[in-house]
Symmetry: D2
Subunit: 188 residues, 4 copies
Amino acid sequence: MSHPRPIKLGILLGSLRRGSFHGAVARALPGLAPDGVTISQLPSFRDFPIYDADIQAEGIPGPVELLAEAIRSVDGVVIVTPEYNYSVPGGLKNALDWVSRLQPQPFAGKPVAIQSGSIGPIAGSRAQYHLRQIMVFLDALVLNKPEIMIGTIQSKLDETTGELSDETTRGFIGKQLEAFAAYVRKVG
Amino acid sequence: MSHPRPIKLGILLGSLRRGSFHGAVARALPGLAPDGVTISQLPSFRDFPIYDADIQAEGIPGPVELLAEAIRSVDGVVIVTPEYNYSVPGGLKNALDWVSRLQPQPFAGKPVAIQSGSIGPIAGSRAQYHLRQIMVFLDALVLNKPEIMIGTIQSKLDETTGELSDETTRGFIGKQLEAFAAYVRKVG
Amino acid sequence: MSHPRPIKLGILLGSLRRGSFHGAVARALPGLAPDGVTISQLPSFRDFPIYDADIQAEGIPGPVELLAEAIRSVDGVVIVTPEYNYSVPGGLKNALDWVSRLQPQPFAGKPVAIQSGSIGPIAGSRAQYHLRQIMVFLDALVLNKPEIMIGTIQSKLDETTGELSDETTRGFIGKQLEAFAAYVRKVG
Amino acid sequence: MSHPRPIKLGILLGSLRRGSFHGAVARALPGLAPDGVTISQLPSFRDFPIYDADIQAEGIPGPVELLAEAIRSVDGVVIVTPEYNYSVPGGLKNALDWVSRLQPQPFAGKPVAIQSGSIGPIAGSRAQYHLRQIMVFLDALVLNKPEIMIGTIQSKLDETTGELSDETTRGFIGKQLEAFAAYVRKVG
């Protein structure tokens, strides 16, 4: 029996807060990956300047180059992000704006999966559809389903360790990673 | 005959580039304001850090306080912005994310008008509808019409001075400011 | 002490199914209205043809005229609708398309509130933001908050009578109607 | 040298008007198809009832079955549509709502390309992004680029014949069909 092609995924985390709920989701992903899939965190956008074409003209900042190169080096990107004010966090959008200016553009033809959550029930879904529209311009290939939207995300973490412990949520995420691996192997 | 109540508007500019086309639009607004309306630029978000709740916990950064206070002090905000990657520029969204965390929240009940442009024909309209969705959460009161979407914006500027010279565009903007002034007087 | 101006609201129901969950929400509204507010159902779009400008050229269909006139006669419209396929039900959109062609356009300057629900947790929110974008073109004045999104809507109805019995949901809806009445009195 | 796999595309037209500009675009597509690609019109949704689950319970209407079966029989769908009121025409949405209820769901895994136009410059783009969101739920595979948005569409037709004569527009459409054929061969 043949083994499926091994693939490497990178996680782009939309939140910077140390105790971020989405950080906990991101940390859980390697343990939920199907066979043949390795997942690791992409470099943070923490030290990106606010995008300004005048800065770009002076040279691409190091942290931008680093993230762009890391995205290029993986077979697919999993964006794990909260929703801020009914849309994509400004920091995450700023990161996408920066890397989109580099050539070769890192997201062109890149498979992408999205995971979001919120402390309320709507679970960041509004941010996901804005992200999908952004990804049309970037020419990324965004997985349709299953969508991961984690409502009342704070209740899905272990109270002591802060890690993602809810088995139902872990199961859903595992299913998305499986579907994403198949998608990456097909379209990537 | 009674005079309409004088109103003060502030411009929130979505671009940082020195030679920004949208900067030219912003500079034109005071000269296009109807009687009784004064318009000035709000402080830039240039020096905002990327939003991080841990930074917020240590204290609101000065430039954030400054913008928030300036928004509170005007009767209405005109957002003049390019579109980046089919959505709101990350820097502008980051600014909205920051000021939305302050109390009293500066956009709550605040009248807002939107102007965008692009070098192509779609004229930033995709960014406008994302902005409108964001403004629902912020509870701002966004003017419906007329919408200002400036296609091939580079061709609407004077080649020598770089200022907004296209009379048709100036006329449209004047009409929006007139409608916005009436809206501010009604709902503000 | 002066009494607030009495206002009349009309409900536009997005679903045609006899046993519609949203029909139950619509039936609950009159009983949840604040003092001075009367609410009644607007005529259905059940007998609207699919929009076709050739049909329009032959004369506006009777049911379209009827709905348009009913919308014009109320002080505000409450749209109560499910979400179909991550957007507005085609039937509801078709109704909006038809009435938008009449002069005076019924939604111009008309206050609108939105309520949606779904059997899942996302509660029709995706349909709401598409509706809001549509309402920009129609120049309606859509209430920002509170938003009514009823998750697991089937569990909020009385099992025997099928009526909206969940007290928390009824309370939220009452709050929206109160906010909407104040909004109508201000902007309508 | 091997020949690429022949593929069959179907056009879903969003407008019913006899003299529809988008009908002219649809009629041009077969003549713009790359080698190995045949394109024909899918059945109209003209005779669809407004979606009502009670009607569905009595049996799927014939025209719905016909369109669903036709979609299943092609390798990809090209949606050619105007924008009504900043979104998808109600008639087209109603058609999608109906066919989405059938099993196997016709759009699941189906490649889709979108073309829109308008008499103004924004060219129906607002309808395209709503369509894309709908297609996430339907699990269709929507081509990213090139996007076809035909501004001032009336000026792109031959004044005498009413057919799509503008060579630039025809060229863009040919490029999209080429990209779509490659996409269908890859993901379909």
